[in-house]
């Protein structure tokens, strides 16, 4: 059985005013390839401005059910001599939302994943939050602004991927009511 490589969690930013949000994961041998795989798997349509990937084993995740039932994850204090570094924090907000999982909430400074989780819990609102994630910023590979045109813009011209390119609902209505069919050339 050959390896399928480690998993990377993928975050995409779809609009300038939206935060990065988790889309799923890909497998890759390193961050660079993970970013390219993420583009191919998650960005076949023109709604992406930026992508982040982070190795799944660098993500510390807690659902509110886990937080309520078990606090042993925080029993060991972080190594006091470890360097303080930046961590990204993510939250799943809302319980019924169809497509959205955890979204980027902000940054915290900490010396370990557990400390970062606890800082995130202190720093960000808990209202309507169901899942918390933290990961070290240095483990995240981010798409560069300069690469955005080559990575994301080609999807814009692929209009045949959009359902509204096909006039079949109107055609079917016309056929059912006995009207003459409007040809594709009249679109």
């Amino acid at each position: 059985m050959d390896t399928q490589w480690p998993r990377y969690e993928v975050f995409e930013k779809e609009r300038p005013d939206w935060p990065h949000r988790n889309a799923g994961s890909v497998h890759a041998p390193d961050g660079e390839m993970a970013l390219l795989n993420a583009r191919d798997v998650f960005v076949r349509r023109p709604n992406c401005l930026s992508l982040w990937v982070v190795p799944s084993d660098q993500v510390f995740s807690k659902t509110i059910q886990e937080l309520a039932e078990d606090d042993s994850w925080w029993s060991a204090p972080a190594d006091a001599s470890a360097a303080v570094e930046k961590y990204l924090a993510f939250q799943k907000q809302g319980q019924r939302a169809g497509e959205t999982f955890v979204i980027h909430a902000g940054e915290v400074e900490a010396r370990s994943l557990a400390e970062a989780m606890s800082r995130a819990l202190e720093t960000f609102s808990h209202e309507n939050v169901f899942v918390w994630w933290v990961c070290p910023d240095r483990t995240v590979t981010k798409s560069e602004a300069d690469d955005a045109p080559s990575m994301f813009e080609p999807a814009h011209s692929k209009t045949y991927r959009q359902p509204n390119t096909y006039r079949v609902v109107t055609q079917m209505q016309q056929l059912k009511t006995g009207l003459a069919l409007i040809g594709e050339e009249e679109e």
């Binding site: 390896t3 799923g24 807690k62 999982f101």
Partner: protein
């Protein structure tokens, strides 16, 4: 908390419409059923690339080629979304791919039928994707967060898959030459019954269904979804002047439903168990693709290792 109390809380969450997320407590049976369903669904997307992939080089014009290429590419991506969802439940990519290549995994039997003419691209898009979308629209509401989100994404993207098939069938059936009309009718004749089989056994023979409905994985039964499909497709096919290959098909004025004849369940089980027209060919194509891609995986691994070693 006892397991009984946990189960009650779990079912209460589902009743309230909450999503279960990785890390949350769930019954072993829920996890097991989801891994079974999601991995089969992922394999179906991957194997589903094959009957259509064969026609990419045979498309009659550039637009059709771009459309087909995009559709097949989406299916590859959708397989990846679903493998991801199964991985959040503890299944590994290695196990799942290995099971598929070794012939141990199931996938939708519809892909074990051959695509014999260009018009099959229309029939597959309209009938097979039409059937898949009904199932997937239901699963988008499923109680397990990662599966539900994969489905929302897939349904959004697959909107065009069904429509491009429908467009092709309508064009050949209403504006085509006699030969094109005959070709598209033949494609509908061959894909009709395999499409009805996609919804699975009758409810009475589907032992997992009641529990899956109670746990919010499914919200409709196999027969309910199949009836929706028959009602939609029969009137649409008739409207474009095509017939449905079912001598027992009749409209029931009392209920307003089209009632289809009985599915050939012997054939259904034969194909599920591996003895369909293309089971061997499909697995052979997957193994070949896996073997021929090995050097790429090895090269990328070596490149990544050299970078970390400086």
């Amino acid at each position: 908390m006892t397991d009984e109390e946990r189960l009650q809380e779990f079912e209460a969450r589902i009743a309230r419409g909450e999503k279960i997320e990785p890390g949350d407590w769930m019954p072993d049976e829920y996890r097991k059923q989801l891994v079974r369903m999601i991995s089969q669904h992922a394999h179906s997307e991957i194997v589903g690339m094959l009957p259509e992939g064969k026609y990419i080089t045979r498309a009659p014009n550039l637009r059709q080629k771009l459309v087909l290429l995009s559709k097949v590419q989406d299916e590859g991506g959708h397989g990846q979304y679903l493998y991801h969802a199964a991985e959040t439940l503890g299944a590994t990519r290695e196990e799942m791919i290995d099971a598929l290549l070794a012939g141990r995994a199931k996938y939708s039997s519809v892909f074990n039928y051959p695509s014999l003419s260009w018009a099959d691209m229309g029939a597959i898009g309209w009938l097979v994707d039409g059937a898949a979308i009904l199932n997937q629209t239901m699963l988008a509401k499923c109680s397990y967060g990662p599966y539900s989100r994969s489905m929302v994404r897939i349904c959004t993207e697959e909107g065009f898959h069904k429509k491009q098939g429908m467009e092709m069938v309508i064009r050949y059936a209403t504006q085509g030459t006699p030969k094109q009309k005959a070709m598209v009718q033949d494609a509908i004749n061959r894909w009709w019954w395999p499409s009805l089989m996609m919804f699975g056994p009758h409810d009475a023979n589907s032992p997992n269904s009641p529990q899956l409905v109670r746990w919010g994985v499914k919200t409709k039964t196999n027969d309910e979804l199949r009836q929706e499909f028959v009602d939609e497709m029969v009137s649409a096919l008739h409207a474009v002047g095509l017939s449905v290959p079912d001598p027992d098909l009749r409209y029931d004025t009392a209920t307003g439903h089209w009632l289809s004849g009985e599915i050939d369940w012997d054939e259904f089980w034969r194909v599920v168990k591996g003895d369909g027209p293309c089971n061997e060919e499909r697995l052979e194509a997957r193994r070949k693709a896996h073997d021929e891609g090995r050097w790429v995986r090895e090269a990328l691994t070596a490149y990544a290792q050299r970078k970390t070693q400086g």
